[in-house]
Amino acid sequence: MTSNASGRRNLTFISRRSPYGSGYAKACLDMVLSAAVFDQNVTLVFMDEGVLQLLPNQQAGNIHAKDLSAALAALPLYDVDKVYAEQDSLTRRGLLPDQLAIEVMLCHADKIAEIIRQSDVVFTL
């Protein structure tokens, strides 16, 4: 497979881990932002424990960490506007869509499967 004429590819990032307990959530975001800076067509999907990154009121400074949800709020500045959260993952964890730290598009597994099929590269972290 090759890039299209503009050198843009569909890069999808599936973020599955909760913040702070491991560095994977931040690592995933770093990859998302890099891809965006390089003008790629980026899609970000939060599923499983990854939806916990969307909890508001994170006092990360208390554990000498940088607030990941605040970093997520910068996604629109990088033109990353395809941001999804799996509804089932939210529901299982008692998260309500209107109480999340950032705006996301809710989706089900079918949509994630479709996103994967339309991607050139998928990174799952």
């Binding site: 690592a27 790629q40 972290l125």
Partner: protein, 130 residues
Amino acid sequence: MKFTIVLYAAPYSSQASLSALRFAQAALEQGHEIVRVFFFYDGVHNTSAFSVPAQDEYDLVRAWNALILEHEIDAVSCVSSALKRGVLDARESVRYERSGSNLLESAVLSGLGQLVDASLKSDRVLSFGA
């Protein structure tokens, strides 16, 4: 096919490094090309020349080094991951006034842009982690 391999895990702490290495070996044996191996997150530990496995243990770091050199693979360790984990090349060691440098000579430190770049040049991107 052109492959990029991304490795997120340290040698020995999980099987990921061996899995990635064996995939790379098999791909090369079949005549495929490896565009880049990108060591990210804990994966940067695979590029530390200071690794000393037990005598009866498989030397993963040397195995990666040999593969990279034999096939002239572009091996990149993510600089931000590497620095905070204490994997430094000579330049960073001087810059940050550390007492030594340990980056494998076959690898270079660079940014995530190299992973994005590799993703654009490859037919397939394989990831291994723990």
